[in-house]
Symmetry: C2
Subunit: 230 residues, 2 copies
DNA sequence: CCAAAAGTGTTGAAATTACACCCATGG
DNA sequence: CCATGGGTGTAATTTCAACACTTTTGG
């Protein structure tokens, strides 16, 4: 074989090599009323999936890459814009879509509690614990996304994408607890997030109800930084 | 919009949606004579890439998924079989391949020092520090793979795929040092790998040259386990 | 007996965990 | 004045990093 990369593909590739369509799917998560929740949309692809739920997604078009495609589909199909996205995994099993060969690049997306979305009536947020069996292989995609988020929240500042710009330390701790699925010690949590410079206090206070007002914090860095341990 | 997932795609998808081909590429790494090395192949896709090096890869076919495709291409194009593979990232930029739209699912693959490969004359192992500019976006793919390996070796037993079944603790430490790019303390290293039960001693000794023979070890688990810290 | 690589412990510093009470506010 | 959630420190334990010499073998 003369050339180990080129499969004899001219430009553009002949039709028989273009048998697949490429899609993107979003496992879009947020913490909603203390529960880790996922954005799902109605799926009605008869005869295979009738009146089911699935993740938000759709095809990649010729003039866009996967990142651009996922952004577009989230905006047009769920009214969700400007949220955090990171690539999760490419799902490529031959029969993962009963309609034909579809290879899907899945994304882990994170939104804060205040994000709208689901306003499209065909899309809504649902607690992860309550999701029924989803269409296609979307159960697998969702499970993969939750595992990834749990792993990442422990050693990066990724949680910033689950919170508004300013938040109390109690908000932050609740977010961690919802994602991880277990309680944390309040004093140790506060000590740690400050010491590792995850957050910085603004002077401001949040007054809410009949109790001592809480200080508002921000994440120190907007870059996704890898910090060591939490 | 009635259906948020189906883009109006019938079965099978119409031609204009099947504009892309889907490929796989392998960032295949091993530690060769103490140096982290990558498997590269000749690329000659005139007029864009003349006599260049690139990663081993090729197209996905209609009857296989990405995992199967990467296995096939490594075997047929580099004679490399039965090595460890994990999906790395899907690269999908519109013009990443000058010949046309190619979306590539990249893999991180690991081999032990004894693996053959490169016997095909068109494929060979090259120290990562010495690789010239590669074809396509393969520099980016390689960089991504090395970062991933460095991160993972620190908290998983993934290093097992870089070593033969039995090895000395010195072999193991050399492997870690080659991947990480810095020296480690011998006593602390040995203490840690035993305490965390990464490896188990076989009674056997390796006699080599005029020096005290070393005990041979194995990895305790063949599953990819996530251990905490190393 | 010499060269070469294998093997082995201790100590001081730093980090981690567990744990309970006082504070500030609004109603 | 009381109910609510916010905020704080310390001591015991564990973990981590730095460091040098003895052992075993083949030639």
């Amino acid at each position: 074989m003369e050339n180990v990369y080129n499969n004899g593909m001219p430009s553009p590739a002949p039709k028989h090599l273009r048998f697949a369509v490429v899609a993107v799917d979003a496992a879009c998560l947020k913490v909603d009323h203390g529960k880790l929740s996922v954005l799902v949309g109605r799926v009605n692809t008869k005869p295979h999936y009738v009146n089911r739920w699935g993740l938000i997604g759709g095809l990649i078009l010729p003039n866009e890459n996967a990142d651009e495609a996922i952004t577009r589909h989230l905006a047009t199909k769920a009214g969700v814009k400007r949220i955090y996205k990171e690539q999760l995994y490419a799902f490529s099993d031959v029969d993962r879509d009963p309609r034909g060969r579809v290879i899907s690049v899945a994304y882990l997306c994170l939104a804060d509690d205040t994000i709208a979305g689901g306003g499209e009536a065909q899309a809504k947020w649902m607690p992860v614990k309550d999701v029924p069996k989803l269409a296609y292989d979307h159960d697998l995609v969702l499970r993969t996304a939750v595992e990834r988020l749990r792993a990442r929240i422990g050693y990066t500042n990724i949680a910033q994408h689950l919170l508004p710009r300013e938040f109390t330390l109690t908000n932050l701790q609740n977010t961690y607890e919802a994602v991880l699925g277990h309680k944390l010690d309040k004093r140790n949590f506060r000590k740690k997030v400050q010491e590792v410079k995850l957050v910085t206090g603004t002077g401001k206070k949040e007054h809410k109800g009949a109790s001592r007002p809480a200080e508002l914090y921000r994440f120190s860095s907007k870059e996704t930084k890898t910090i060591e341990i939490l």
